[in-house]
């Protein structure tokens, strides 16, 4: 309660300090509001994060997720400027004596398909916004980074950012500032994506062609977001052009994709449909000796979105994603998994300063194992209702509030037995139901033009309810008996999540930022493996499993030079995690009645220094980032209850990402990554039993894999644009990329083999995932 009073006090204090600011721009003639949207002139799509400012006052704002802005200032004649890097700024003269609407359409200065890195924000935005630890990724940047099999990907791209580590080469699992892979929230149009992997993580579910905006928070998470300890990946899909039809796509080695968008009602209603299908399995007949007939391996997915502008004050959106991976071995055994999401949103402007959004969201993830005609399936379903209100009080003050309710339905397993199933297989099913609530309020204020504060409070609550059986555990985590709940709420957890970010503009070109946040996580991911798999288990908090909790403080220094061409940042953080979950040693998910018997909880801490130097403009763009970080975990019964380096503790991490426009039609890119080898628990001794050499271990994660490094290159050739009626009709390019140019065999794991001829002799072998791999992709856009 003390914390709440303290926060409310700060809120009241800064609200008071905001009033003189408001008065400072007010005149005796009064104030009025100019509001509207900023959109792309070519496609009509709203631009997120575009800057709109009044030249005379130097005061401005940015467009929100829906492309909307609002400024309330004193009545006068002004020049209103809208700008978005990569687009030509537009200035409009306005005479403010009443509330007015001014919409902007910005013309692009470059096109995305040319693979030029288009910055989506004002170049000095890194100095002016209070949030730290946030990166806004441009789709064009993502597409320009060389990638495995030529498949560029959002998640693979964020793995190059400081503070973000990969859980395994070629995979999409990532660790943020010492957090586990399950501590990352991934949202696609506000719907939770529980598992973003296609083909076990070689691809992600995010199809670049369908994406409009990607924000990644590794700290400084706004109060409207919660539910995960470590990071937020907030991805928004394109809406489709309300003005003209378009087709674009690509043909790659492993998959192809096609996107169609266009108006349903010109300037009012548009759609986009985007699909992908992989075809790795069509090559299987070439390997008939090794791969049995009827073996299948593919994924497909589809993104679709419709938006309808009812009028200037009301807008409707509906978007969905559906994807499935299928791996079938010889027609007799199968693993399949996939996500389904559906988001419906309603934007309403109560007045020129009060913006609201109401969302109803469905999210579903399942995976199944099938053998003969017996099917074992596990799934998570979320139904989520969410309301957000933004009040643009003055150019210096923005207030946000809202709430959300999520109904989780976890089905740990459902067994469906067929006629030929073994007779011990019955049709059984188990469900766990829970509710997750959150309400938040936040206030972003600018004080004296040099200090920005974004602070807020999020209150969260979690309840288990409905028919359930909860095991009671003894001190050794053995199930003693079961408590049966027939209906109603039988368990509640609550969390208070304060957030505050402060930005102090030391000079025009430098700022210092600080952030504190507390986050709670009520659903958990526990993995029995070192690499993330779809069969990893998500499960909800319950009387046996407390919510995870994290506190993080961070401090950063940001400096731009040479007209914002170069941006340097140094961020440091300390993070403490409580009640983090992990499996016990030798956990077995298929034998036990309840996951609680296999789970252990503990705590962890991590700290680090992240340095980044970016070149933001010019023929040559890119960044160099270096991270020094450590992360330690202490989990009950593991490592004699002592702290040990986490599986993803890699102290040194260096990334170089660069793109150079060699010729107007030729662009080359490279990335080079280096990191300390991941820690591993390797044997310190051995004993013989039953003719087998068995290992003896000392401390957990005491040794490391060899250091990891790899160079990738790519070149994109813009092919001749086909014209019709004197206008560009078909734009196309060819991308050639080479993954792992110097063919380093980076160890993913170390294995020990017993000699066939002399069983007392052991040898070490490393498992490496990828050798040098060239690929080619053809991209087109009508």
């Amino acid at each position: 309660m003390k914390k709440i009073i303290w926060l409310l006090g700060i809120f009241a204090l800064t609200a008071k300090t905001a009033v003189p600011q408001q008065l400072a721009v007010a005149t005796p003639q009064g104030k009025h509001t100019v509001s509207g949207t900023v959109s792309d002139a070519a496609t009509g799509e709203e631009l997120i994060g575009a800057t709109v400012y009044i030249k005379e006052l130097g005061a401005g704002t940015t467009t929100n997720t829906y492309g909307f802005y609002s400024l309330t200032v004193a009545d006068a004649d002004y020049e209103l400027v809208a700008q978005f890097i990569g687009y030509t700024p537009v200035t409009k003269k306005i005479s403010l004596s009443q509330n007015i609407k001014v919409n902007f359409s910005l013309e692009t200065t470059t096109t995305e398909i040319e693979q030029v890195v288009v910055q989506g924000e004002k170049l000095n935005k890194n100095l002016t916004r209070p949030d730290m630890g946030m990166e806004k990724l441009q789709i064009a940047t993502i597409k320009s980074i060389p990638a495995l099999f030529g498949e560029t990907d959002v998640i693979k791209s964020i793995q190059f950012l400081p503070g973000v580590g990969t859980s395994g080469e070629g995979f999409i699992g990532y660790n943020v500032r010492g957090g586990g892979t399950g501590q990352n929230m991934m949202l696609l149009d506000e719907a939770t994506v529980y598992n973003a992997a296609h083909l076990f993580g070689i691809f992600s579910v995010f199809n670049n062609d369908a994406l409009k905006d990607v924000k990644f928070y590794k700290g400084g998470m706004p109060a409207e977001y919660g539910g995960r300890l470590s990071s937020l990946l907030d991805v928004h899909m394109k809406e489709g052009s309300p003005q003209k039809f378009g087709v674009n796509g690509g043909i790659g080695l492993l998959s192809s994709r096609l996107t169609i968008d266009g108006p349903i009602l010109k300037d009012r209603c548009s759609f986009i449909v985007s699909g992908r299908r992989s075809y790795m399995d069509i090559f299987f007949p070439l390997y008939r000796d090794e791969i049995p007939d009827d073996t299948k391996l593919y994924f497909y997915d589809m993104n679709a979105k419709v938006n309808f502008k009812v009028n200037d004050n009301n807008r409707l959106f509906a978007s969905g994603y559906f994807g499935r991976d299928v791996m079938n071995y010889a027609g007799v055994m199968q693993i399949d998994y996939g996500n389904r999401t559906l988001t419906t949103r309603y934007n309403h402007l109560f007045n020129d300063r009060l913006f609201s959004n109401l969302s109803v969201i469905y999210s579903h993830f399942m995976y199944g194992l099938e053998e003969s005609d017996t099917r074992w399936e596990s799934s998570i379903r979320d139904w989520n209702a969410k309301a957000d209100v933004t009040f643009f009080a003055t150019p210096q003050n923005t207030l946000k509030t809202g709430g959300q309710l999520t109904y989780h339905k976890f089905t740990p397993f459902t067994v469906t037995a067929g006629a030929n199933s073994p007779n011990y297989m019955k049709n059984v099913s188990q469900h766990n139901k829970s509710l997750e609530y959150a309400a938040y309020v936040s206030h972003e204020t600018k004080i004296g033009g040099i200090i920005d504060i974004d602070y807020g409070l999020r209150m969260s609550m979690f309840q288990n309810f409905g028919k359930a059986e909860v095991v009671n555990l003894d001190e050794n985590y053995n199930a003693v008996d079961t408590t049966r709940h027939e209906k109603g709420i039988f368990n509640t957890y609550k969390g208070i999540e304060p957030r505050i970010s402060v930005n102090w503009r030391v000079t025009d070109k430098a700022s210092v930022k600080a952030n504190f946040q507390q986050t709670y996580q009520y659903v958990h991911l526990a993995s029995t493996t070192m690499s993330p798999l779809p069969i990893d288990s998500w499960f909800a908090s319950n009387p046996n499993v407390k919510p995870e909790r994290c506190r993080m403080v961070s401090l950063g220094y940001f400096q731009n030079t040479q007209n914002d061409m170069y941006a340097f940042s140094a961020e440091t953080y300390y993070k403490k995690m409580y009640d983090v979950v992990d499996f016990k040693d030798h956990a077995d998910m298929f034998v036990s009645d309840d996951i609680a018997t296999q789970i252990r909880t503990g705590q962890g801490y991590s700290y680090g220094l992240e340095l980044m130097l970016k070149k933001q403009e010019g023929k040559f763009t890119g960044w160099v980032s270096y991270t020094y970080s450590r992360t330690f975990t202490k989990v009950e019964t593991i490592n004699n209850n002592e702290y040990y380096p986490s599986n993803y503790d890699k102290p040194h991490d260096l990334s170089v990402v660069a793109t150079y426009d060699v010729l107007p039609r030729l662009h080359v890119s490279l990335n080079w990554v280096y990191s300390t080898g991941a820690p591993r628990t390797l044997p310190t001794g051995r004993f013989e039993y039953n003719g087998v050499i068995a290992p003896v271990y000392a401390e957990r994660n005491a040794l490391r894999l060899p250091d990891f490094h790899r160079l990738d290159l790519s070149a994109t050739f813009d092919l001749k644009t086909v014209e019709r009626k004197g206008r560009p009709w078909l734009e196309q390019n060819l991308n050639l990329s080479i993954y792992n140019v110097y063919n380093r065999h980076n160890a993913a794991s170390i294995m020990f083999e017993q000699d066939e001829h002399d069983p007392s002799v052991m040898t070490a072998e490393k498992l490496y995932m990828f050798s040098i791999f060239p690929s080619v992709t053809y991209n087109f856009k009508f």
Partner: protein, 306 residues
Amino acid sequence: MKHNILTIGILSVVLGSACTEKMDIELNDGENNRLVVEGYISTDTMQHSVRLTRSTSYFYNQPATPEKDAIVTISDSEGNIFPLTYDESTGNYLTDPDVYGVPGRFYTLNIKLKDGEEYEAVDELVEPNFFDTVYYEYTNLQYGVDIGAYYYWFYTTFTEKPNFDDKYLIYYYFNDSLWNPTFNDVLYASTASYMDGCEHFEDVLFSAEHEDSIPHNPHMRCDLVTISSGYYNFVTDLYNETVTQSGLFAGPPANICTNIINKDKDKPNGLGYFSARSYDKYEFDIVNDKKDGKPMKDWQKNELKN
């Protein structure tokens, strides 16, 4: 375990580009030279054996040396004591040939080493379970799919006991030679209550492709070995750490559990396990598995029991 194998099998297709290569690695030397115990007592009347060795550094790369001159006894919860004597030829400690275990009793292994250190290990000899069915096929088909080679495919079924931690090993012998000595595909366990009273099905494949792999028309024996939860944990740990461990999708390594307790609490416990086991056995002769020394393609399923 079967699901893990399935997953790994399919993943190996997915990740066809993964390769292995030998590497040199320097490992830390831990606290080695710990006592290792391998032995069991069963419901069979026989000369039971216990083997004592020592742990070594990981790349010792020599056979473990038997630990001699120890005083070894097995006692049961009824107060019976069975002394074991060291056998130079095998390096094992042996009981008299008429020793057998009784289900429901606890058995304790006591070891006193020549340096005075004493160890103790306790296990329960649980009530046995019994096969309902044992049958086999000689086939090149698995689930109707030609798998490109001929196998003996054995099916066994048994019924899970209500309110019982069903933990079993299933052994297969051809002409008295154990054919699955490394625990692979022999382990089954279930604490899931919904399985109680249900018939359980286990199957295993043995290659018959090579003439020297399995003897012609062999005498066959299947053992259903009911084991304690503690020994089951040991065997699964051993399996995980030696068969499925170290792969890309393996879990974090951890020490294999043990019941070899050092009586001096300040000193480290031993390694390995002393177990107690209940047996059900079924024996039969396989005939006509081959014609003229060649595999017979469509040999029909033979139900040998029930």
